[in-house]
Symmetry: C2
């Protein structure tokens, strides 16, 4: 592996926040990797991290936050703890499909409604037909660059108040301004919008999820062992975890949340929208390139997917020559699309360089 | 958290290897935290890590290595993938009990034989009575400081060749010189003998475990979703993982294995035994203190448990004044025992200082 100056604009893992280097040195200096997960020091860290995170993302005080290992684990744990038999999934990309597949693997009667890749759903004409215990959404589909309108998710919650509403916000947190009171649980991992090393999933949930897990356990459903919601909750109220967690990443998350809070979440959101507009404006005016997502209302602000067709390999190479590491397309679009992450770590200069490079390479 | 010079002699998380600081800087310099887990760079890292680990621990080429999030997750995954109905557990401490409890939580008919804390089992008089699909051992019981003789585990495998034999080597790896051909799977986490930040569990298993998982799945047992053995295997043969893993810790594990291999595993083992002998000799000659484990044949070389009775708080404090952070006793022994980790990271000087401090505090 060489040490060329590079900037990762991949949709996750992505570029680390430059401050992470100093935060890691602080972690080493304060022995944070050696403390016990039942110690007072760890409990203080747990408490501070949750506090900064709740502040940053306006998570209500009554909601619980659990630390898992990945967003994929969050999906697995939500399915096992929030549905005994029936789940329903909104699937318009690979990560929504992963959520659905998890339910199938855990032997639920999982149903799904599908939208073509690159599109949202026709929400005025949705038929949720299996009285699902859990309804799963992927707010920002990382594989396609489609963002679902939050109002549509809230409406479905209002119409299905007995169902648990779970929302994957993996690549929209912390930009997404979610009203947690209008959903039941949400989750993300830290190697995307938080620009941290991978290895930590964050699960946010309300008492309805815990109550559901309790009922499922009483009814002899397999809700899991050390990471069932009841075990996670029992430890979280003590500011602890069931097992020794990724303490370093929890520490780094605390520091990044604090950093973002000092910077200001509204400023982060505004800048995210401005940078996204720069990219989409360029794509809409380009003769050679276009945004994969046609409907401007559902275009992701944090993962911008570019149709580059047969020019993709050359364009990715041109970007790489400038040190700009872009993501390939996902799955069948691997060699025809380019995905550009627009997380808080990515500067206006980074996005400007991407546009300049793509423009130069396509306007000859 | 202050920055006083401290050395953690806790049985995990423990002191970081001093080299970890430089390894982390290398990780940051080579963008290892930004690479995709399906990229060539990651696959190379995966391959190198497994290669160095197999060399270090003499793991046969035919055995598979999976990266999970913790040793606790390893227990959960082993139970779900190696037993449909019946497990049998050798329980002589809190971590063996955790393994047993995991089986109960996953709705297996789990049976156990118990030995008093601080003792091994009477292996000449064992009756394994429920034709278990899985037999679970805790090689080095971190809560009590008892090590089970490997020959006894091998004998049980020979007598129950149809059962999967799983061995927790959490606090004995890489010191333990295990003959993997005489067991089926083993696991550890990296914050103990590998002196790394927590957040990575390593699971080592043979084809018999995979075959068992396949049969269980065919018979409609719930073997889990993204981390069932078949999904883990399908990715591992491509040098990949199912989800984005703790790439930083995998990188650090690679570097530490390489470091240990250069140092020499036989030298590490010899030094571990010498340091353990120093501590036990002191305890056996002390009028005020004693080793919790009476039987010298089953005394752990890597976690030494000291009976300190009512002097425990004072002695822990005296050690702390010298910057030596020792572990408390586990569970009901929290305030009457001291646990000293003797991992490769702990020097002869560290152990000498512990002895000197305890001697001075108890010989007045």
């Amino acid at each position: 592996m060489n040490n060329t100056k590079k900037t990762f604009l991949t949709p996750g893992p992505t570029e680390l926040l430059p401050e992470v280097k100093a935060f890691m040195q602080d972690a080493l200096g304060s022995h944070i990797c050696s403390i016990n997960h039942r110690s007072g020091e760890f409990m203080e860290l747990f408490k501070n991290t949750i506090s900064e995170l709740k502040k940053l993302m306006s998570i209500p005080e009554s909601y619980h936050v659990f630390f898992l290992a990945s967003a994929t684990e969050c999906m697995d744990r939500i399915i096992a703890n929030c549905a005994g038999e029936r789940t329903f999934h909104f699937v318009n990309g690979a990560f929504a499909e992963r959520f659905y597949k998890t339910a199938v693997e855990l032997e639920k009667r999982a149903e799904k409604i599908e939208a073509p890749y690159g599109e949202s759903f026709n929400f005025s004409d949705i038929n949720i037909y299996n009285e699902p215990e859990l309804i799963a959404f992927t707010h920002n589909e990382t594989s396609t660059g489609v963002t679902l309108p939050l109002e549509e998710i809230y409406k479905i919650k209002a119409a299905h108040s007995d169902s648990i509403i779970a929302v994957d916000i993996v690549t929209s947190a912390p930009y997404v301004n979610l009203d947690y009171n209008k959903i039941d649980c949400a989750f993300f991992s830290v190697q995307k919008g938080f620009a941290l090393p991978a290895g930590l999933g964050v699960l946010i949930l309300n008492d309805a999820c815990l109550e559901k897990a309790r009922i499922l356990k009483e009814d002899n459903y397999n809700i899991g062992s050390y990471h069932n919601f009841l075990a996670l909750y029992e430890n979280a109220v003590k500011y602890q975890t069931t097992e020794t967690p990724n303490v370093l990443d929890i520490y780094l998350l605390w520091r990044v949340c604090e950093y973002y809070n000092n910077y200001g979440i509204e400023k982060i959101r505004k800048e995210t929208e401005e940078k996204a507009a720069m990219l989409y404006d360029f794509l809409d005016s380009s003769a050679a390139l276009s945004a994969f997502v046609k409907d401007k209302n559902v275009r992701s602000r944090t993962v911008i997917v570019i149709r580059a067709d047969d020019k993709q390999p050359e364009l990715k190479q041109k970007l790489a020559e400038k040190g700009l590491i872009a993501g390939s397309g996902y799955g069948k679009f691997k060699e025809s699309q380019i995905r550009i992450a627009n997380f808080p770590v990515h500067t206006r200069e980074n996005i400007g360089q991407v546009i300049k490079t793509l423009h130069a390479a396509t306007s000859s």
